[in-house]
């Protein structure tokens, strides 16, 4: 390998005004690149010279400060010259030249994507949401309610007296647990929903829907119903629906950046709310909120355990007016009736209460809260 001071390289120079190549010789002297030959004698400060990234094919090109180009078709000779004069590859280039580093980048990338999805995305969504006024929640929630109502919900057949009673009890319970308000206008809606079965769900902005099918399974247990509503109120207060939306939008933005096209994910907001499904974290937060509200109203968190039993049991009265006719074959319940019915009822609507089959962890949580 030649030593630094007298390393030279034969190359072509393009002056940017003519397409004619000038045969030149390159040398480095001090902090300057010297370009000599064909009537030219140019000096360029090394700092302002853009060296090429090393690649397998094609000529090497140095771009000078003024946009003119030095080209060398002999890549191997160029690389020797560059190394001799100390113009090594940048860290980025060295990383991508080595397969080991590339592999490391792949692994790191996967780890980053996973970590970003698990922690970064929720944190970012929460930060973004801090700048979104509550009025937006309401508009989004109202829009989602209308589209959901048109394909899933029917008018309620619950006696008006019971509706009124539940409303007032819920309002009183909220006032007792959150004396300073919950930040959203909570609107309780009763609906028959044969396709959702015994269920309840919350939308951004304060709409909470509870199905007739659920109320029919809890005829005399308004305390249990209160537990359900408290859980849904937790989703509203923590703005889970909006967080889900923002997360989906951020995710869309990130993937479109990586794969190169922008699509308007927000346009699909109503459909998204229904289908994404709350995460386990969201369910846990909402459960905590439910426990807090129940305790503030002197109701034992054990009512939620009663609830899980009620919604996973087949209807007690066969031949009920608006019973669950399609799903949950009670006869073939040999394996696990709980799972079968939960899956049959909730597969099509992600955020509905029973879409996450109540697992032992959640039941244990309510039991522990009751024991405290």
């Amino acid at each position: 390998m030649s030593s630094a001071p007298d390393a030279t390289l034969n190359a072509e120079y393009f002056d940017g005004r003519s397409a004619q190549a000038h045969a030149v010789q390159l040398r480095v002297q001090g902090h300057e690149l010297l370009i000599d030959g064909d009537g030219l004698a140019l000096r360029a400060p090394l700092k302002r010279v853009r060296w090429p990234e090393r690649q397998r094919h094609g000529a090497r090109r140095i771009v000078l400060d003024d946009g003119t180009i030095v080209r060398c078709a002999d890549a191997a000779a160029f690389d020797r010259f560059a190394r001799a004069v100390g113009a090594g590859d940048s860290i980025t280039v060295r990383a991508q030249q080595s397969w080991r580093w590339t592999l490391a980048a792949v692994v790191l990338l996967i780890a980053l994507v996973a970590a970003g999805y698990r922690w970064g995305l929720p944190a970012a969504a929460r930060a973004v949401l801090a700048f979104v006024p509550a009025g937006v929640d309401e508009r989004v929630g109202d829009g989602a309610y209308q589209s959901i109502a048109s394909w899933l919900l029917k008018p309620s057949t619950i006696a008006p007296d019971r509706q009124r009673l539940l409303r007032s009890e819920f309002e009183r319970a909220i006032a007792r647990a959150h004396p300073r308000g919950v930040g959203h206008a909570v609107r309780l809606q009763f609906h028959a929903a044969p396709r959702l079965g015994p269920n309840a769900f919350a939308l951004p902005g304060g709409i909470i829907v509870i199905t007739d099918e659920l109320l029919q399974r809890l005829p005399e247990r308004n305390d249990v119903v209160l537990g359900v509503l408290a859980h849904e109120l937790g989703h509203v207060r923590q703005r889970h629906g909006m967080r889900l939306l923002v997360q989906a939008s951020l995710l869309g933005a990130a993937t479109s950046m990586a794969f190169g096209d922008f699509s308007n994910l927000l346009a699909a907001a109503p459909a998204l709310i229904g289908q994404l499904g709350y995460s386990r974290d969201f369910e846990r937060d909402a459960d905590d909120e439910a426990i807090a509200l129940l305790r503030a109203n002197g109701v034992s968190p054990l009512v939620m355990v009663t609830l899980f039993e009620a919604i996973t049991r087949p209807l007690p009265r066969p031949g009920a007016a608006s019973g669950n006719t399609s799903g949950a074959p009670a006869a073939s319940a040999a394996s696990s009736p709980r799972e079968a019915s939960a899956r049959a009822q909730s597969a099509e609507f992600g955020i509905a209460f029973s879409s996450h089959p109540p697992d032992d962890e959640r039941i244990a949580r309510f039991r522990a809260a009751a024991a405290r």
């Binding site: 094609g58 990338l109 989004v140």
Partner: protein, 409 residues
């Protein structure tokens, strides 16, 4: 550096007549082949490092990644044995990128706030789109060099508006009315206003009817304003040729659906017959699976075949009718080859969960680029340019990303 300057100050530099010493030009002119020497495995490493850095910097590395990608692709694209180079400054592009990101965010917010806000955003967007389009081309061309000469895009903003306004109007009718017909987040307002539905439908029909003309108009604007030194191009195609390509593509798409529909119907009939004899539940399920599978498959086949057809025919049409006083282009891209490659690229991209993307991009670039050939009347060395260093506006380049258009090739 000043010994060979035969330049006029106004930028209309001249090609020096072939000197007496030069041999007589070959009868067909000088044929310059396009070659692409990029390699999938090499670009994979650039791509993965770029992706990583973009993620680590929460997106801010994007312009730098883009510059490295363009330098790689340009540096591996040879015309007559000489590579292209990209000179855009990533720092300038970062500014443009941030500007456009803010704009896109504001637009997304506005479209979701209310129909009126969406309408205002749409008008604003339509109003600046042609200007952004022009800025994007100007930046890209001004920062692309070959043999040390910078390209130029000479199209004016006024011409950009002239080329685009009919389509913008039609799209505005459709999207603007649609914002009122399907109000998001509005209280239940009953039936959408009938006038809006009519405007929306008229807009939609217009958009579809105008699409080929729009392509023609945009391509004429683009290809009529490329310049390298004294060479300037123009597009000598007719709008009718574009309608021909799009009509044939529509026919091809329909043709793709026919065998699949037959398979689907036959499958469900067969399943129904089988199902009636045997256990009761299986028949409809098999029919449904066959039908659904056939539909999905036919859709994918349609996208691949019709997409490859349109891409190849348009490239051949556009470049085949692009010429200047001393230069002409030709493109011989085969739809069949492109369809095969696209099918392979999609399949492998899905199977590798996206890791095949860089290989797919390189393979596609090679096929598209090497189909093109350039013929010049004078040897390319004698080209001279007057002005240098018109950088263009970096915001324009980011706008090109946002709107999803590229110089093509």
């Amino acid at each position: 550096m000043s010994e060979d300057a035969t330049i006029t100050p106004d930028g209309t530099a001249t090609v020096e007549a072939p000197a007496a010493a030069a041999p007589a030009a070959p009868p067909g002119g000088y044929r310059l082949a396009m070659r692409f020497s990029g390699s999938g495995s090499e670009y994979f490493r650039i791509w993965i490092v770029n992706l990583l850095l973009i993620l680590v910097t929460v997106g801010l590395y994007y312009p730098f990644a883009k510059v490295r990608r363009l330098r790689y692709f340009y540096g591996n694209t040879q015309l007559g044995g000489e590579e292209f180079d990209f000179h855009g400054s990533p720092w300038k592009m970062l500014r443009g990128f941030l500007l456009m990101a803010a704009f896109a965010g504001a637009y997304a917010l506005a479209t979701n706030a209310s129909p009126w806000a969406a309408l205002v955003a749409l008008v604003a967007f339509a109003a600046i789109w042609p200007a952004l389009f022009r800025a994007s081309l100007q930046f890209r061309l001004a920062n692309t060099s070959w043999r040390g000469l910078r390209f130029q895009f000479l199209g004016t903003t006024a011409d950009a508006y002239r080329a685009m306004w009919p389509m913008l109007l039609a799209m505005f009718m459709y999207l603007g009315a649609a914002a009122f017909v399907q109000p998001k987040g509005q209280a239940a307002a009953g039936e959408p206003p009938a006038a809006m539905v009519v405007i929306m439908l008229v807009g939609l029909v217009l958009v579809m009817l105008l699409m080929p003309w729009f392509w023609y108009s945009i391509k004429r604007y683009q290809h009529g304003n490329y310049a390298l030194g004294p060479m300037r191009t123009e597009l000598r195609a007719k709008a009718g040729s574009f309608y021909g390509v799009f009509l044939k593509a529509a026919g091809l798409a329909l043709l793709c659906m026919v065998p699949m529909i037959i398979v689907a119907i036959g499958g469900s009939v067969l399943a129904a017959i089988l199902g009636s004899g045997k256990s009761k539940g299986a028949g409809p399920v098999i029919g449904f699976v066959l039908f659904g599978g056939a539909m999905v498959l036919s859709y994918v086949v349609m996208l691949v075949v019709a997409g490859a057809f349109v891409t190849s025919r348009l490239q051949n049409l556009v470049w085949g009718s692009t010429r200047g006083r001393d230069v002409k282009f030709a493109s011989a891209l085969k739809a069949r080859a492109l369809a095969k490659l696209t099918a392979k690229n999609w399949l492998l991209t899905v199977l590798t969960l996206g890791l095949y993307i860089p290989f797919a991009r390189v393979a596609k670039a090679k096929l598209l680029i090497e189909a093109v050939e350039v013929t010049t009347r004078h040897p390319p060395q004698v080209l001279t340019a007057a002005l240098r260093g018109m950088g263009g506006d970096a915001a324009g380049d980011a706008a090109g990303d946002l709107l999803g258009f590229d110089v093509g090739l």
